[in-house]
Subunit: 315 residues, 2 copies
């Protein structure tokens, strides 16, 4: 068990550097004081037990990774350079020191990979484990906003679609065939934030907007499109082989699954047609998803897909 | 009941301005983009049901106020000018739209008082109500840090000590004499963040440091003092009349109660002796608490006080 707040702070301080070029005043005072660029990009996300993860199949390392990764993904969608984050931790009494060290240890590895400073936070008891991260970075000169794509533009995705949803489904059902889906499982437990990809895309003039796909393309595509526009999905959009295999076994349509599945933390973007070649060259992970159309809705081969995605108020 | 995430966002957008000089890009995208000063002060605090508040005696308005006020208090302790905040909200399904509107409505009033922009956040279901606020402001030229006071310096307090703890005790016990303690109750339910006082104090050259007293003076004084130093408490430190009355009825020592009570969100500061007059003049709320001594511990009339304060891992 963790003995005291000071004990917890000792662990934090052993894992996260006390000094960082971004921190004028670091952890340990009422506030951190940051050396800031003129334009700061900021976001925050909750990561709660039994809502966003289960301790049954998330290791402490997975939890530490994903809580920070989903926040980094928001910065990625802005093309920002990550700078710092704060961590509010809701800690249930039954978790021990080892859990804490493993969870924060892996969070600190991901933070180090992106040169992120942990600037502070708060700690409180609670009935179940919860992490609330607030993250910020230096925003690029040109903003990567939603609602900027025009009819005819190419809609593309960097990263996977529906893969993490396969992992979630398999893990929830404790499926005996879990081992056949290593990338699906990794996609759900350890999403890779596409920070570098976001930065590269933000630097390409023809890119008209980016967003991260957390609730699934079905729900996020309409958020990405300007009012009155929609997307015509390409029938040749490549779905990950594990998604194809997963759906084949279950009599599901892989493309519909890919469009509905959430939590891949892929990047969704749009560009003028003439920019598509440059994008493929500079960010080979990008695949064409479809074309912006001049009427609302997500269309596939002439029919509108009845899609759901994820709403926090629906079950 | 709240019907959907969009329904919730509608409420937020009706209560908090979409435009603010601090926001280059406001709510509704992956990140907000902020126009930032070179030196940004940032902090975050959790505010959780049955840990920090109870819905039995906190109205929705009280919850909205206090969740933001405790965060503003951290900025106050830095002498910062508040700029913006993000709100992560954990929402239990049984709370209705009216609760949400009342809670966020009052939070928006406090935000407006301090010209704070709400830049974004996250929403998730949870078993009990919880708010995680991350707040930032423009830091003053000179940092108000802990551990900077020297032996002989005056230790002072702006705001009350032990008053909110009276309120908490009376509310928890559902005390029939509650009406006799209006300021104690208000102190617990609606602490006033001493933002203006913090700014004034940070502007006085002789002030050597500030911190906000959230866990009680007993626990926070040693955090404020440099290693090897302590505080000699003045026996004439004035305690609020409600604290005196509360303690008299219960056979308690008012000064000890005042030193142990938490959550007043008073400001604790220290200054060179010659600066004390200027402080009293410019920030009349400040009262002398004692003197920095050259040995550790909190001393009152020659004996060391056995004090506890609040640790999140102790009950």
């Amino acid at each position: 068990m963790l003995k005291s707040e000071d004990h917890f702070l000792e662990i934090v301080n052993s894992l996260f550097p006390m000094e960082h070029p971004h921190m004028l005043v670091g952890r340990g005072d009422d506030c951190a004081v940051l050396k800031c660029p003129a334009s700061l990009c900021i976001s925050s996300d909750l990561f709660l037990e039994d809502v966003h993860f289960r301790t049954r199949y998330f290791t402490p390392e997975d939890i530490g990774h994903k809580a920070l990764a989903v926040n980094l993904s928001d910065l990625a969608a802005n093309g920002s350079v990550p700078l710092g984050f704060s961590l509010n931790l809701i800690w249930p009494v039954y978790l021990d020191e080892e859990f804490c060290k493993r969870m924060l240890g892996n969070m600190s590895s991901l933070a180090a990979e992106f040169k992120l400073a942990l600037t502070g936070g708060d700690l409180s008891f609670g009935k179940s484990l919860g992490l609330a991260v607030c993250i910020w970075g230096e925003s690029p000169a040109r903003q990567m906003l939603r609602g900027k794509a025009d009819p005819g533009d190419v809609v593309f995705v960097a990263g996977e679609a529906g893969l993490a949803a396969c992992g979630l489904s398999l893990l929830e059902e404790n499926d005996p065939g879990l081992d056949r889906y290593p990338e699906s499982v990794a996609g759900h437990l350890r999403p890779r934030p596409l920070v570098r990809e976001g930065q590269l895309l933000a630097g390409i003039e023809e890119v008209k907007g980016l967003m991260d796909v957390s609730d699934g393309l079905a729900r996020d595509l309409p958020r990405f499109c300007r009012r009155g526009t929609g997307v015509e999905i390409s029938s040749d959009f490549k779905v990950h082989p594990e998604v194809v295999s997963f759906c084949r076994d279950r009599g599901l349509d892989p493309l519909e699954w890919a469009l509905n599945g959430g939590e891949d933390y892929a990047l969704l973007g749009a560009c003028a047609r003439k920019g598509w070649e440059e994008i493929q060259e500079k960010v080979p992970d990008c695949r064409r998803l479809g074309t912006v159309s001049d009427k609302p809705g997500i269309m596939l081969q002439g029919r509108e897909l009845g899609l759901k995605g994820f709403d926090h108020f629906e079950k």
